[in-house]
């Protein structure tokens, strides 16, 4: 033992204590910065890849032209890395001033005091809430607070491999039922391809399914369904995997993050309508959109989802943040640049400014036309419901839902075990 071990240890403890004390304090926000001539810099963070980055950079150039006193610094990562980083930065008291957001995170980060209530800025005239399609301006509202403004809408759809569906003689029609869907999957299976990639794990499909039956996945503060509901859903799902109408989960897992549809493992997949763009780029076939199956021949239980822009409560420049969001959702030029990259533009002005037919790439043009038609038809049919902002912890539930469904499909758990495990995990997440 060294002779002055005591001194060492005491000094060490003192320093450790010091850094602990430092941790307890919350840091002052230092998101943006101002300089002498009134120029303000705001930080804008979002998730996406190379292509989205290039588009967003161009929209920011436009913004900076119009507001020469505001400089925008961007920061972006792929989806999972984005939230990892956002969480670290927000908890460290250093979130970006304005950032891309989604419905599942509104309550979570509101509860943690991260999100800026944009109502005050709307009242001050820095953020216009008129001109939105289909009541979308309400989408970011939680308990009377405006926590996000949608920049693009999308909706659940069945993305299909058109030639495979045609060959099997299947034409999905509006109002088709789950029984019709099942028959269709069997027909496709006979053609040698699995019908679907694994709908039993898609939370955003199970939610409309529940809504068709007067329930919902989430309520304001918890789960809107019980174990018996989930048991029924997963029993059917597992049977589908066994019979081969749903794709072999092993194969689906292997080709991730490429989609099973593009990889020709399954003929269709329930996902957001604007994902057709990605599938088209990834796969060799021709892809289209089909409506969700219904229970009563009418009600699909679906709603518009969206990407939003949110401000951070700690920003020192709420006005500039609001002006930025305003510009991004209303300016027609922005829509021309972004296309349907983040979903269909949410304001009428932007929706009309972008004409899919004008896309240079013919394939993209036709895919985008189909997306627009799909959403217009939803609005016209009046099937759209309003979405409830998910309770805090919903993101954890969603991940658990997908993971446990996969375990079930792989035969690692029985239906009963899977249901029990999901409820245990999800309740822990929602409770905390």
């Amino acid at each position: 033992m060294p002779m002055n071990g005591e001194v060492d240890r005491r000094g060490l403890l003192k320093l450790a204590g010091g850094s602990l004390a430092a941790l307890g304090l919350t840091a002052a926000g230092c998101g943006g910065s101002g300089s002498g001539d009134g120029t303000v810099t705001i930080r804008y963070a979002w998730w996406g890849s190379d292509d989205r980055a290039k588009r967003i950079n161009r929209t920011i150039e436009l913004f900076e032209e119009k507001y020469p006193k505001i400089k925008v610094k961007t920061d972006f990562q792929p989806y999972l890395d984005f939230w990892k980083k956002f969480n670290t930065q927000a908890s460290g008291g250093n979130p970006p001033d304005v950032f891309q957001n989604a419905i599942g995170f509104l309550r979570k980060y509101d509860q943690r005091n991260v999100l800026l209530d944009l109502n005050a800025q709307a009242k001050a005239g820095n953020l216009r809430l008129d001109g939105f399609r289909a009541g979308l301006e309400k989408f970011g509202e939680v308990d009377g607070k405006l926590l996000g403004v949608p920049v693009g809408s999308n909706s659940m759809a069945l993305v299909i491999d058109k030639p495979v569906f045609e060959k099997a003689g299947v034409t999905p029609k509006t109002g088709w039922t789950w029984d019709d869907f099942h028959t269709a999957m069997e027909k496709i299976r006979k053609q040698g391809r699995s019908g679907d990639s694994g709908l039993y794990g898609v939370m955003y499909l199970y939610d409309p399914y529940l809504r068709q039956r007067g329930k919902a996945f989430f309520t304001k503060d918890g789960l809107g369904f019980d174990e018996a509901d989930l048991k029924e859903w997963w029993t059917k799902g597992y049977a589908g995997v066994k019979s081969g109408i749903y794709a072999d989960p092993k194969k689906v897992a292997q080709i991730k993050p490429k989609s099973a549809v593009a990889a020709e493992i399954a003929a269709s997949e329930f996902t957001w309508d604007n994902f057709t763009v990605r599938y088209t780029a990834e796969g060799k076939s021709e892809y289209g959109l089909a409506p969700l199956p219904t229970t009563d021949g009418k009600k699909t239980g679906q709603y518009l989802g969206s990407l939003m822009l949110s401000g951070s409560k700690r920003t020192q420049h709420p006005k500039e943040v609001a002006q930025f969001i305003d510009f991004m959702v209303h300016d027609p030029e922005v829509a021309k640049i972004m296309g349907y990259d983040r979903g269909v533009p949410t304001t009428t002005a932007q929706y009309e400014a972008y004409k899919p037919a004008e896309e240079k790439d013919k394939v993209i043009a036709s895919v985008n036309k189909e997306i627009a038609a799909y959403e217009e038809q939803l609005v016209d049919a009046g099937v759209l419901e309003t979405i409830t902002p998910h309770p805090a912890g919903a993101d954890v539930c969603e991940a658990a839902f997908l993971r446990i469904a996969e375990e079930l499909a792989l035969g690692e758990r029985s239906v009963d075990e899977a249901v029990k495990q999901f409820f245990t995990e999800c309740k822990t997440a929602l409770g905390s």
């Binding site: 850094s19 890849s49 190379d50 792929p78 460290g92 990605r278």
Partner: protein, 309 residues
């Protein structure tokens, strides 16, 4: 262990040609034998190499395939090779030129190497050559830090750097390197220095040299292999580091290669696997160059440090 015994059957001692003083007649026979042995050895080595480098070859092949036939493709090489994955990189990623990523990574990697060489060698000298109070305790603590899972420290460290206003600078990524946080390298150098003959510093001491002189003029030059080994590993680690740059850097113009590589694939966007593979192969080149330039020291560095316990 089959390859183990194969390796030994031709160990240097048993190789007659290794003895330069062999008689000329025997030399001719030996040369012929060596030729056969050498051929077998090369065939063996190449076979193993083929297995080991298969993934790399696959990646090279993949980088010449069109994007949609990379994932799930079964062929090693494309039927119709394209160079679009490489030429596409010239446009940069997300409006950032490729050279920005590379120069950032290079700056960080070289900065890290300098830091590690400086700080770790100082600490190692103290552990190996100076008898100061508390040495054993500190040494044990240092070894203890080798066992730490990195994620536990992440959040407290982030808060610390944030308080110091160092987010979006390279300081959080470099500071630890200048403060000898990487215990492995200290350990490596300590092991090396311990094996240097004690008489060296005793002689220097008699000449009136202080520790600083001994460290700088005697120990450091003799430690070259250990220093180079540390330098290579540091360079590679820094080059491949993803988590640190992800969390600490906000400004895309400061991003490193490892962050850039992730920009090719996002679950919402169109994945560009071809570009990703092409860029990661290019990203491999500096590391490989650094390694090739110094690899002969690597063996020596490891030879005299990790080994003597």
């Amino acid at each position: 262990m089959s390859s183990a015994s194969r390796g030994l059957s031709a160990d240097p001692a048993a190789d007659p040609a290794a003895d330069p003083a062999a008689a000329p007649a025997a030399g001719r026979v030996a040369r012929r034998r060596r030729g056969a042995g050498s051929l077998a050895w090369h065939i063996g080595s190449l076979a193993v190499l083929g297995v080991v480098l298969y993934p790399v070859i696959w990646a090279i092949g993949g980088s010449f395939k069109p994007n949609e036939s990379i994932v799930g493709s079964l062929d090693l090489f494309p039927t119709d090779p394209i160079v679009a994955n490489y030429s596409g990189l010239a446009d940069g990623i997300a409006d950032i030129s490729i050279s920005t990523f590379f120069s950032n990574s290079l700056f960080l990697a070289l900065g890290s190497v300098a830091g590690v060489l400086f700080s770790c060698s100082l600490a190692a000298y103290a552990f190996a050559r100076i008898k100061f109070a508390g040495r054993n305790l500190l040494f044990a603590l240092m070894i203890g830090t080798l066992l730490l899972p990195y994620h536990v420290l992440l959040i407290p460290q982030y808060v610390l750097f944030q308080k110091m206003g160092l987010i979006n600078t390279y300081t959080p990524l470099l500071l630890g390197k200048y403060l000898a946080v990487d215990a492995f390298f200290v350990f490596l150098m300590v092991q090396f220095m311990r094996n240097l003959p004690k008489e060296l510093d005793e002689a220097a001491r008699l000449d009136g040299c202080g520790h600083l002189r001994i460290y700088w003029s005697i120990v450091l030059p003799l430690c070259r292999p250990a220093l180079i080994t540390s330098a290579i590993f540091t360079f590679i680690n820094s080059w491949n580091d993803f988590m640190g740059p992800l969390i600490y850097l906000n400004d895309p113009s400061k991003y490193t290669v490892s962050l850039g590589l992730k920009m090719f694939v996002d679950q919402e966007g169109v994945a560009n696997y071809g570009g990703m593979i092409a860029m990661s192969l290019i990203a491999l080149l500096p590391v490989l160059a650094f390694f090739l330039a110094f690899q002969r020291y690597l063996i020596d560095g490891m030879a005299t440090s990790g080994l003597k316990g």
